[in-house]
């Protein structure tokens, strides 16, 4: 985890991470919009159908083609993203540790309009929760998707999710939660445009020792890992 001082200062979002982020983002949107068309053939909720204006693929067969195309970039880039986060230390540095106190502090600050956005290199408690949640949801989505795709070839595995219909409902629920994340994530990124810009251009260069910033912003949180 420790970074050698001799290396040039890295940007907040290194190029590899930005590429993976945007491949994941485009894939997830394409999977959601094509998934809606597939869903429409046999809705889970009687009152919920998706108009063709909001779907990718005008027919179910085309929507299925899109869905089974974009599963590849998401799976490949998603796995690479997770490996990168684990190996580079990014997850440990940026997303962990996470405490309930930190989340409550962020919510409290936000309600009192005291939530600072000056330092975008440090994630607040709610950001950490949302990012960790989104990563977990996308992993679950790939796992339930596999159970729906291959309930017979991987029957032992698919049984972990109950029946075929249970896996389908879980896959649908995961989609709904990811949609919720996307709405909040995009809204907040637009609200603090420099975060969006940072995901395009890389953002500020990090000081070799990034720990003090974290310690100042969240004094309650142990920073021993840094």
């Amino acid at each position: 985890m420790s970074r050698k001082d001799s290396r040039p200062a890295r940007r907040l979002h290194p190029l590899a991470l930005r590429i993976m982020h945007w491949i994941n983002a485009i894939s997830i949107l394409a999977l959601i919009f094509s998934g809606w068309k597939i869903y429409d053939d046999y809705p889970i909720l009687s009152w919920l159908r998706f108009d063709d204006a909001y779907t990718l693929g005008g027919h179910p067969e085309t929507a299925l083609q899109w869905h089974f195309l974009f599963m590849w970039p998401l799976a490949i880039s998603g796995i690479a993203y997770i490996l990168y986060g684990l190996v580079s230390g990014r997850f440990w540095n940026k997303l962990l540790p996470l405490s309930i106190g930190e989340i409550l502090k962020t919510v409290g600050d936000a309600l009192r309009f005291k939530l600072g956005h000056d330092d975008i290199t440090h994630y607040n408690g709610v950001q950490k929760l949302l990012y960790l949640g989104a990563i977990a949801l996308i992993v679950l989505q790939i796992l339930t998707g596999l159970a729906i795709w291959k309930p017979v070839q991987f029957s032992e595995y698919a049984a972990l999710f109950g029946s075929f219909q249970t896996a389908r409902i879980l896959h649908f629920t995961g989609m709904a939660l990811i949609c919720g994340f996307v709405v909040v994530h995009v809204a907040l990124a637009l609200l603090v445009p420099k975060t969006l810009l940072a995901m395009l251009t890389g953002g500020p260069r990090l000081e070799p020792a990034a720990a003090p910033a974290a310690a100042i912003a969240a004094p309650d949180v142990p920073v021993s890992s840094n």
């Binding site: 053939d41 046999y42 063709d52 779907t55 005008g58 027919h59 085309t62 899109w66 195309l69």
Partner: protein
């Protein structure tokens, strides 16, 4: 139920001269493909793919089909020839089975048992046509398996009939060939890979829940394979061909994944 909604587009109004169809198969498929896929990009798709004008649909659809074929190969590699699909108990069986076809149940044309025969073609040593009595005389295998439709619904069905592998061996089919193709009384067509044809849970089904198949469910003969989606199970079969030339199928030619494995 999209299958029904688009019925007027695809349903042949009268019988088609099969000879002419065969002779011009490539052309017919091409016309189908272009005509049907032209409108496949919705507004949502266009918004996402800014820069791709409608005129580029052909390229997009070629790319989508190429990936679909790649997914065929992946599925063939994932296929476990000896792995059995989960089976269920008789009290879970849906009676009657759920109807599905590319038209509504009211439009089913019953097959006359007296006139029906099963013709064989391609890499098969004994091409003698089979009558219904011939088929009924064969040893019967029963399985209670899940039918999963590409649309997302499923039900448990109790199917019995001759094991396709033993049938192919009986008629001297070349089981090293790549595909088994089916033609049906309602002009539906379908095809499966040989590995699936040889799977222990692939039957030429003649019975459901202990009774001969009802008219709407494929009487007298339909395919039931436990390892593929519903549309890969042609009903009202009238001809079987063993071939090395990829045969396609009714829904597959329209863009549904050819392998269709589960």
């Amino acid at each position: 139920m999209t299958f029904k909604r688009r019925l007027s587009l695809f349903r042949p109004k009268t019988g088609v001269d099969q000879g002419a169809f065969e002779a011009n198969r490539r052309l017919v498929d091409d016309i189908n493909r272009r005509g049907i896929l032209r409108g496949t990009l919705s507004l949502g798709g266009l918004v996402m793919l800014t820069g791709c004008e409608a005129g580029h649909d052909g390229a997009i659809n070629s790319a989508l089909r190429a990936v679909s074929e790649l997914n065929d190969s992946v599925q063939a590699a994932l296929f476990r020839p000896d792995h059995l699909a989960p089976t269920y108990s008789a009290d879970q069986v849906l009676r009657p089975p759920r109807f599905n076809a590319f038209y509504g149940i009211d439009d089913v044309e019953a097959v006359d048992a007296k006139d029906w025969k099963l013709e064989l073609a391609g890499s098969i040593a004994t091409k003698k046509a089979w009558t219904l009595d011939d088929i009924y005389a064969l040893p019967r295998q029963e399985m209670i398996i899940k039918h999963i439709c590409v649309e997302g619904w499923d039900y448990i069905g109790q199917w019995a009939g001759v094991n396709l592998r033993s049938f192919l061996e009986r008629v001297g089919a070349d089981t090293k060939a790549r595909y088994v193709a089916f033609k049906c009384a309602d002009d539906y067509t379908g095809s499966i890979d040989m590995a699936t044809a040889l799977h222990p849970q692939t039957l030429l089904a003649t019975h459901y829940a202990g009774e001969p198949l009802g008219d709407p469910y494929g009487f007298p003969l339909r395919l039931r394979t436990a390892t593929k989606l519903g549309y890969k199970n042609p009903k009202w079969i009238t001809a079987i061909e063993v071939t090395n030339v990829k045969p396609g199928g009714y829904w597959e030619d329209r863009g549904f994944n050819w392998f269709g494995g589960i």
